[in-house]
């Protein structure tokens, strides 16, 4: 049990080293990288994804997954657009969209927490169903012409050079860090992710925790969808399509175990910084398209492979150590990797 935290710390050290390399590469390769407007762009171009990545971290640590987030984002954006086009006041439209997101999350949560269906299946259904609803709302149209204040919130700086969504992200990051690392609820999230049965016998309300997590996921995804609508100034049925994969990538690269029970927000924050800065650096170096996708894909494969490989090597080494109480091992043939 005690080697786990240190392994994680090592993972974060590795992330920090990767981040340093990426930043160094960017600084030396492009004179535009360190400009304030570019640094704001680094975040702004993916801001909705990283907001959702925060809540996805909780879900995956809890041993679940939410594949429906991008569809909820799209649905919320389409609800806002549809209602606006039908003459509903914008603040009310936003409120309805957030409520729809919350209900989507509650729907997912109900089947997962109370009926006991696997989240992979339930949220996959959500991914398809909520996207379908979004497409029905907008058909093949694009709806824009939002009020000026709404567009301004999405597209113009609010405080200093920072737009609203960036501020929302940083506030949520701090809140999430406190909840996950400093509260009882945060501890429950880990314990349930480690072993649901143990958690139940320890008196943790497993169902309630899961339900809350999925409702939060729906609500925050809807908020991100509304922010996306404001940033783009127009919405289509396919808005935010495919975002769930980028979001899950960020969380997994951050060292959160897909089996639940381990991972930290520090790791996820570092992974977000790596992916965003890597994308930006490659764009500034005029590397786009498949090369960019390939580099990030390779990074993800590494993030899944390395921890597993390290774990296996460690297991192998402890099996071969003669001092322990296990059966006498065969003569050590393999080379030890230290």
């Amino acid at each position: 049990m005690f080697h786990l935290p240190s392994a994680l710390r090592r993972w974060e050290t590795l992330l920090l080293a990767i981040l340093a390399v990426v930043v160094l590469f960017n600084v030396t390769r492009s004179p535009f990288y360190l400009r304030i407007d570019n640094l704001v762009n680094v975040f702004e171009l993916s801001i909705e994804k990283i907001i959702v990545a925060l809540v996805m971290t909780f879900i995956i640590i809890n041993g679940e997954i939410d594949l429906s987030v991008a569809s909820v984002m799209g649905l919320a954006a389409c609800v806002v657009a549809r209602l606006h086009a039908d003459g509903v006041a914008m603040p009310l439209a936003v409120l309805v969209a957030l409520t729809v997101g919350l209900l989507c999350g509650a729907f997912n949560g109900f089947w997962i927490a109370y009926v006991g269906l696997p989240s992979l299946a339930v949220t996959l259904a959500g991914l398809i169903g909520y996207r379908g609803a979004a497409r029905i709302l907008l058909e093949d149209k694009s709806i824009g012409n939002f009020p000026e204040w709404f567009n301004a919130l999405g597209q113009r700086p609010l405080v200093g050079p920072f737009p609203l969504a960036l501020i929302v992200f940083f506030v949520m990051l701090i809140a999430a860090a406190i909840i996950l690392q400093r509260t009882a609820f945060g501890r429950y999230v880990y314990v349930i992710g480690n072993n649901k049965e143990v958690a139940r016998y320890a008196g943790i309300r497993v169902k309630q925790v899961k339900m809350r997590l999925f409702m939060a996921s729906g609500l925050i995804a809807a908020l991100a969808g509304v922010l996306l609508a404001a940033r783009l100034g127009a919405v289509r049925g396919n808005t935010a399509e495919g975002f769930e994969l980028d979001i899950i990538t960020m969380v997994l690269l951050g060292g959160v175990s897909i089996f639940g029970g381990s991972g930290t927000l520090t790791g996820v924050a570092l992974s977000i910084l790596i992916i965003l800065n890597l994308r930006n650096g490659m764009s500034l170096a005029n590397i786009t398209g498949n090369t960019q996708t390939g580099v990030i894909g390779a990074l993800l494969i590494l993030s899944v492979l390395v921890p597993n490989l390290v774990g296996r090597l460690r297991a192998l080494r402890s099996r071969m150590r003669p001092a322990t109480t296990g059966p006498t091992p065969q003569p050590a043939q393999e080379v030890e990797i230290s």
Binding site: S30, F32, R35, D37, N38, N41, L45, I65, L67, P118, L120, D140, K141, S142, G144, N145, N151, G154, Q155, R231, L232, G233, A234, V235, R236, N238, T239, G242, L245, D246, I248, T249, L252, I258, F259, R279, N280, S283, L284, N286, T288, G289, N290, T293, G294, I296, G297, L300, I301, V304
Partner: protein
């Protein structure tokens, strides 16, 4: 239980995630989709350089302007051809800067185009040539780029509201497409006419639908009275599906003599289907196709005639116009005339399909047959 689930779950998740890095899943839509026009807001202010109106401006070569050619996504032959044309013009005009050809992946097209426009503005690129795949969602990024001094010219597919866009270079008049298809049908079926069916892309592809509607309109002309349109079916721009749909048409309509496919994917699939099944003597194929993909079928007589505009020329013309705009030799204004190298003179006009837009119409179609298909 848990031990059993983990490997399965991780396999599924891994394959889902890898899907994100894999090759294009979605069938790329044939280029050029004029979307529904939206009520636009204030247009971008134009600058005030340039020659007196009415005069044809000839480009002064050798000016250094950083330019980016941005297709809907990478990996599509016609966009590579557009790049080839743009590079040709780039060399001709002796622009000492490099012309970048940058594009997103198909599954990340909207976000990718926004990112590339934003980054171009940061880098101080003078002009972006955009085949827009993001509808009006690209507008905030384009407006910011224009504020930063980057000109945005669209080609192949415009910005619906025209906001931020200087000019749209249209390949052909969309109404003309319908007439060209009707003419080809008449030419293949002969004066006695005959029955034909349309194999289109997807039921909601805006451009194909507009072309088919235009063709139906053209067919009302008494000249085409002996042509009978049997059906319109959809192959969703997937080769295999289009292939099956073509064969299904043959089964359903024994007296059908022609399949008209206004999509490069559909026409090639239909021609292959007829060839494979030895049906070419009975059923001919026509529509919009890429010469490189159609050579075999045109030479064999299976697809005696088809049409397309040249994407090489589209890239070439777009580069000339953009170079002239970015170097302030002309301004984006109705009635401005310019010379585009080997392609001759063009005029900036109002875009009849978009309330606030300006366009340069390239036209006309090239009709390919066995004499010019491999040229």
């Amino acid at each position: 239980m848990i031990r059993l689930h983990k490997p399965i779950a991780s396999l599924i998740v891994a394959s889902l995630l890898l899907g994100a890095c894999a090759a294009p899943v979605a069938a790329p839509q044939a280029p050029a989709a004029p979307a529904a026009t939206e009520p636009p807001a204030a247009p971008a202010a134009t600058q005030a350089p340039a020659a007196p109106s009415g005069e044809v401006v000839k480009a002064e070569p050798g000016k250094a302007v950083k330019m980016v050619l941005l297709p809907k996504f990478l990996g599509i032959a016609v966009f590579d051809q557009a790049n080839q044309g743009a590079q040709e013009a780039h060399k001709e005009l002796g622009n000492p800067e490099k012309l970048e050809f940058l594009g997103p992946t198909p599954e990340n097209s909207v976000a990718g185009q926004i990112e590339i426009v934003t980054t171009a503005a940061t880098q101080g690129v003078n002009a972006v040539m955009l085949s827009n795949n993001a509808g009006d969602q690209i507008v905030p990024a384009v407006k910011k780029a224009v504020e930063a001094g980057t000109k945005v010219v669209t080609w192949d597919s415009p910005i619906p509201s025209a906001e931020g866009e200087s000019v749209f270079v249209a390949q052909v008049d969309f109404n003309e497409t319908g007439k060209v298809m009707a003419d080809m049908a008449l030419s293949i079926l002969g004066a006695d006419g005959g029955k034909f069916a349309v194999l289109s892309a997807s039921p909601d592809a805006a451009n194909q639908n507009a072309w088919i509607a235009a063709m139906k309109e053209a067919l009302k002309d008494p000249k085409y009275a002996k042509l009978e349109l049997l059906d319109v079916v959809y192959g969703n721009d997937q080769s295999e599906e289009s292939y099956k749909q073509a064969l299904a048409l043959v089964d359903k309509y024994p007296d059908m003599e022609l399949i008209m496919a206004p999509t490069t994917v559909g026409i090639a699939a239909a021609a292959k289907a007829m060839t494979d099944e030895g049906l070419c003597d009975k059923v001919k194929v026509s529509g919009l196709g890429l010469p490189a993909e159609m050579v075999e079928y045109t030479k064999s007589g299976c697809a005696p005639e088809f049409a397309l505009w040249s994407f090489v020329d589209l890239g070439y013309l777009t580069y000339y116009l953009t170079y002239l705009l970015a170097t302030n030799q002309i301004e984006a204004k109705e009635g401005v005339k310019f010379k585009a190298g080997r392609m001759g003179e063009y005029t900036i006009t109002k875009d009849p399909t978009r309330e606030k837009g300006l366009r340069v119409l390239m036209g006309p179609f090239t009709v390919y047959n066995k004499d010019n298909v491999d040229k």
